[in-house]
Symmetry: C2
Subunit: 376 residues, 2 copies
């Protein structure tokens, strides 16, 4: 099928760019002597996860238990659920363990460690747990040098229903970097934090086999990963306008776009209206207020050539509003029915509105449709 024959809005996935993005990251991480555990939260799609390990069901990171279940059904065994575990969700984790999945959980609290251990003991199993470390005050986790790290590690190590398997951090603040130099420093800061935590745990006599870090910016620019055993990164598979804006990739690397149709002309407001609104693009406007602000996404023609003077200025539920940055819109260039492509600000959020990727070859032909999993 040709791209032009698809109903809009829908997702296009450029296979060549996807391949290139994955190869680049795999090569870089492997060259640093570390293994990649891709965060599948971006694509949430089996074929993409397979590509990250040369067609194998390699180690993965998930952001929801639904993803864990979906990938487990597809044969993936080695899974880290990288959002703090709470006891109420343990029955779903247990169900995966009973299916033979090597599921690993993360926590950052000693009481939760004890509750998980009590659950494991009751269920006659050992739940593998990593401790989340905060390397940059971005989100969750314990400070790498804190006493609490040792306390939690000991609770997990001594717990009859838990196995302390490592430490994990995510340098989320790297999204606010704006230069290669900054990313290199953040990558080193992330490495230093996570290896410090691991070393402290080992000094306390507790094993710490997994030392896991990662974010697309730090993974892309890391120069040295001594002491790290694995890198997690997610959005690199698709890239997006935000990553291009901060300099992690080029705009031409962005593999994901929303195909949309011009549905109305508002000449008295210098706008065209498309059928890709807030539902189709997401309401993510993470480029707002940055030097690379691109509204609700970069506007491109059906071949993917970015039209630099156009910007998505509004995103109502099913209406996208596109106007010019400068001058009058040439409405004759975009008659109603014209197909455009919008390259998203944030690929993870945009993809979540869809259940299917239309896999595109040569900016023209749809060769396959890949499913994705959504929800929790």
């Amino acid at each position: 099928m040709k791209v032009d024959h698809l109903y809009t809005p829908c997702l296009l996935l450029d296979r060549k760019k996807l391949n290139q993005n994955i190869s680049r990251m795999c090569n870089h991480i492997n060259n640093l002597g570390v293994s990649l555990r891709p965060h599948v939260k971006t694509a949430k799609s089996v074929p993409v996860a397979l590509m990250c390990a040369g067609g194998e069901t390699g180690p993965i990171t998930v952001s929801t238990l639904k993803e864990a279940e979906y990938f487990a059904d597809a044969g993936f065994k080695d899974i880290i659920y990288a959002v703090s575990m709470v006891p109420a969700k343990l029955p779903r984790a247990l169900a995966l363990l009973k299916k033979g999945i090597d599921l690993k959980l993360i926590i950052d609290n000693a009481n939760i460690a004890k509750e998980i251990s009590a659950f494991g003991e009751k269920e006659n199993c050992k739940l593998k747990v990593l401790i989340e470390i905060d390397s940059d005050m971005h989100r969750a986790g314990l400070s790498p040098d804190s006493e609490e790290v040792i306390y939690v590690a000991r609770a997990l190590h001594d717990g009859k229903g838990t196995e302390m398997v490592g430490v994990l951090t995510h340098a989320g603040e790297s999204y606010y970097g704006t230069s290669e130099n900054a990313f290199v420093k953040m990558a080193e800061q992330e490495r230093h934090a996570i290896t410090t935590a691991a070393d402290n745990i080992r000094k306390a006599g507790i094993p710490c086999p997994i030392v896991s870090c990662g974010s697309t910016p730090t993974a892309t620019f890391a120069k040295d990963l001594t002491g790290v055993t694995e890198v997690r990164a997610g959005v690199f598979v698709f890239q997006d306008a935000y990553q291009a804006g901060i300099g992690v990739c080029k705009k031409s690397d962005i593999a994901l776009s929303v195909l949309t149709t011009v549905i109305s002309h508002k000449k008295n407001q210098n706008r065209i209206i498309t059928d890709a609104g807030g539902m189709a693009l997401s309401k993510d406007y993470s480029t707002r207020g940055t030097s690379f602000d691109c509204g609700y996404g970069l506007v491109a023609d059906i071949k993917g050539n970015i039209i630099e003077n156009l910007t998505v200025i509004g995103a109502n539920q099913e209406h996208g509003l596109i106007s010019t940055k400068n001058g009058d819109l040439d409405f004759e260039k975009f008659p109603i029915g014209t197909k455009l492509r919008i390259l998203p600000n944030h690929a993870c959020m945009t993809a979540a509105a869809y259940d299917t990727y239309n896999v595109m070859e040569n900016d023209n032909e749809i060769s396959e449709q890949w499913q994705r999993c959504n929800g929790w």
Copy 2:
């Protein structure tokens, strides 16, 4: 099942509030002598649409052809697809017509009118079409007094494959009102615009049976709907923090919320972290910069009591960051595992991440699960 036993994040729908919101709107519109054609884009769920017509499959408005197909399968016959039609989508409309669905389309362009007519003629059917009118420069549509309205009406009326069935407008700018007085004026402006367009068309000798207007703010505050035949409104069924903020409803009217769990404490940042992030809440931050800014949603306890001093300051993919507006967070009040409810900024966007509503009675018991349709 008790609310506390649900896996989080998930959607809660308070049946009593839903009932009250629907009754209030139905009564108001019926008292004005006009029929309600609810916009089902908010709930996208058959049981909610049935409630809007006393259990019947009444007239509805949809925002996607997927919704049209979903509701048609459930027995709804009288459907307006209220997003500008483009010729490439006509085969899906035709399939619905062939199933006996009274589907009506909207357009705002004479060339498209002719293309639709040509399609209808070729397929040996008459496609019913309304003309979209712009009553407030919010989005799409023709200016009510413009010559083009007559031109499009004539194209539809004379077209062998089309039937000109009416005019339609949506006072989207009413979302920027902030007082009852403003909403009353906007409702009258909307009524004036749409009846002007209808009158002009009739003066030109062309029938214009349907005169359709609506938005939740204008529908709520309209005092007079003379000349209007039907009102469309959508978000009123659930209401949300935005509608409460502009004074269209009370916070206590909000029927939809996201149930979430506290998953981490960041004491050194005065934050708790929950499992309702940008995916679960949507990235809609429409209250940003308003006097009623509430971050990514209003925070409530598991019973739905709003905790005024808390606010969702951040929404990463699967992490919500909650902090206080003033003073220190009392972490002991919110141990890890605590369930909270987040009342969304924009119910339509938040609900779209889920396929199921957990219908809740008395803030405690889940009596039913209702499915919704997503995508295109």
